[in-house]
Symmetry: C2
Subunit: 306 residues, 2 copies
C-alpha cells in the first residue's frame, strides 16, 4: 500500500469533532482557533539513513534543515512560525558534541526565522531520530484546496536542485566543481521562504511547499481543489543545466520530480499577478483534473526518500 | 553523562526570548500565551524495545498509552488536553492492521480524554516509533517549582504497580494469578488523572506526574522549588503486597522507585487539604533540600526504561 493510502486509512480512524479545529489532516498544517487567533500545527520527523546520512551532512546543517522544513510548512499555509518542541531519540553511545552541533544549527535557524524552541523530550533508539513539532500563526489559512479556475501558477524559485545535490552527495565524488558544491547546499541547507509569507497570506488562493517534487505537490493542489493545472514554462537553473550536461541527465526531469526544494508552489488570480514579479510564473489553473505540461498529461509520482 | 545533564546542556543552547513564552524547558509542559489563553505543549516519544516490546503489549493498549502519558503531563500542569499531532516512523514491511489497531487505541483514548488528534506525519525507520505532541489549555499553570514550606504532599493513587507489572511481563510467566494480570494492566494501560484536573488547577501549589518514579519525580519538585520533602506514609497497594510476597520483593522499593505510574504527586497548603480526601497524604514540605523518608535521606534515582 502506498504511504498516502496508509495515512488516509489511519487518519480516517480519528474522526474530529471540535468546532475549534478549522483544518485537520491533509494540508501542510493543521489549524485551530484559540481565542480568535488561528494557530498552525505541523510536525516533521528526520530519521537517520532515511532523511539524512550522518556522514553526508554536517550536524549544524541537519539542525538547520530540521527547523527549515517545518517553517516551510507553516509559510505554505500563510503563517509565521512561533513555538516548537523537539523530540530526539538517539543511540546511547552517541557523541554529545554531535548533538550540540545539531542544536547549534537549530538555534541558528530559529533565530533566522524568529521563532522559539520551548520544550521537547529525549529518548534512546538504535537510529538517530529528530522530530520537530512547530506551531505558527496566521490571519488567514492558505490551503491546498482553494485553487480557482483562471488562477496563475507560480513557484518561488528553481526546483530540482536539492535532488541533484543529493545525487552528487551519494556518488561520493571527490574534486567537485563549484556548481556541485552549490547544489549540495540546496539539499543540506534549504531555506524556507518566510520572506514571501505576507504576500502568500494576502494574495495566494492556494499554496503548498515543494517537498515531494513539483508535480507531486501540484498534484495535491489539483486533487484537493478539483482542478486541472497546465504547466507551460518550467525554469531550469543554470547550475542544474551544468549538472545535467556533466552527468548526461534531463534537467526537466529533475525540475519536475526532484523533491525537498522547500520552495513554494501557489496559485494567484490574474489581478494579483503583479505582486509576484520575483517568482516564476509556470502555468495556469483550469476546469478538469490532473497536471499537464502543455497538452501532455504528467504522471504524478513523488520523490522517495533514501 | 546522565540524560538529565545532556538535556540541560542541549537546551541551554536554545535561549528563549519571547514574552509570550511563559514556561520553557524543564516542567511537564511548556506554556505560551495566545491572546490571553494559556496553552500547554508537551511531547512524548515511544520507541520499540525501549518504551514497549511489540509482543508484550496489544497495539490498542499501545495507542491508549501513547495518548495517556501525554495527557498526564498536561494534567500535571493543571490543564485539559486539546489537540495533538502524531508522528510515526515504522519499518516498511509493517503489518497495516497493527497500525490500525494502534490508531483505534489512540481513538479510544482521545475520546475518553475529550481531545482531538488533528495531524501528523509518517516515515519509515528500522524500529517502530510513535511520537505524540499534545497541546492543552489551563487557566493557571501549576509548576514543579512552587512547593511551599508547610505544604502537604499527596499522591493520587498507589505507585509501583506499573513497575511490578512490567517485571511480570518480562518474566514471560504462564499461568499468572489475577493480581498479576491486574498489575500488567497498570503498566500497559495507565489512565491519566484528568478527573483531578480542576482540583489540581485550583488548589495545588506544585504538581508533577509520576513517570520516573515517586522519589525521582518528587526530587524534581524538591530541586526546582528549593525545598525539602519529608515522606511519612507510603501506601502499598494490596496487589503489590501479593506480588512482593510471591516474588520475595520489597514493596516499598517498588512504591518509591517504580516508574510509569502516571499518578500525580502534588503539594497543597494545609487549608486546602480537605479537597483531596480521595488521595493519599504521604508527607510534607519544609525548608531544606532532598527527599526524606521520616529522618532517612532517600537516594534520588530514576526509573530506567528497558
Amino acid at each position: 500500500m502506498a504511504e498516502f493510502e496508509i495515512i488516509k486509512k489511519l487518519t480516517n480512524i480519528l474522526s474530529i469533532n471540535d468546532k475549534d479545529v478549522l483544518i485537520g489532516f491533509g494540508d501542510d498544517c493543521a489549524c485551530v482557533n484559540v481565542n480568535g487567533k488561528k494557530l498552525l500545527f505541523t510536525a516533521d520527523i528526520q530519521v537517520e539513513n532515511r532523511h539524512f546520512i550522518k556522514d553526508k551532512i554536517t550536524p549544524k546543517d541537519l539542525g538547520w534543515k530540521l527547523v527549515s522544513v517545518n517553517v516551510s510548512d507553516v509559510v505554505a499555509c500563510g503563517g509565521v512560525p512561533r513555538w516548537g518542541l523537539i523530540s530526539i531519540a538517539v543511540p546511547k553511545n552517541i557523541d554529545i558534541s554531535f548533538l550540540e552541533k545539531v542544536y547549534e544549527g537549530i538555534n541558528e535557524a530559529k533565530n533566522f526565522y524568529k521563532c522559539e524552541i520551548i520544550g521537547g523530550n529525549t529518548s534512546s533508539a538504535n537510529e538517530i531520530i529528530f522530530d520537530l513539532f512547530l506551531t505558527g500563526e496566521t490571519e488567514k489559512f492558505i490551503s491546498r484546496s482553494n485553487a480557482k479556475e483562471g488562477d496563475l501558477v507560480f513557484i518561488s524559485g528553481y526546483t530540482g536542485l536539492s535532488r541533484a545535490g543529493l545525487e552528487i552527495l551519494l556518488n561520493n565524488t571527490n574534486n567537485l566543481d563549484n556548481f556541485e558544491l552549490e547544489l549540495i547546499k540546496y539539499h543540506t541547507r534549504p531555506t524556507a521562504r518566510l520572506d514571501l509569507q505576507k504576500k502568500i497570506q494576502k494574495y495566494a488562493n492556494s499554496c503548498i511547499d515543494i517537498s515531494d517534487g513539483l508535480v507531486a505537490d501540484l498534484g495535491h493542489i489539483s486533487k484537493m481543489s478539483n482542478k486541472k493545472i497546465v504547466l507551460e514554462n518550467i525554469p531550469i537553473s543554470p547550475i542544474l543545466e551544468k549538472f545535467s550536461k556533466k552527468y548526461s541527465k534531463d534537467p526537466l526531469e529533475y525540475a519536475l520530480y526532484g523533491g525537498e526544494d522547500y520552495q513554494l508552489a501557489f496559485t494567484v488570480s490574474k489581478e494579483n499577478e503583479r505582486y509576484f514579479k520575483d517568482c516564476f510564473k509556470i502555468g495556469y489553473v483550469e476546469k478538469g483534473r490532473g497536471i499537464y505540461l502543455n497538452d501532455k498529461p504528467l504522471k504524478i509520482k513523488g520523490f522517495e526518500h533514501l
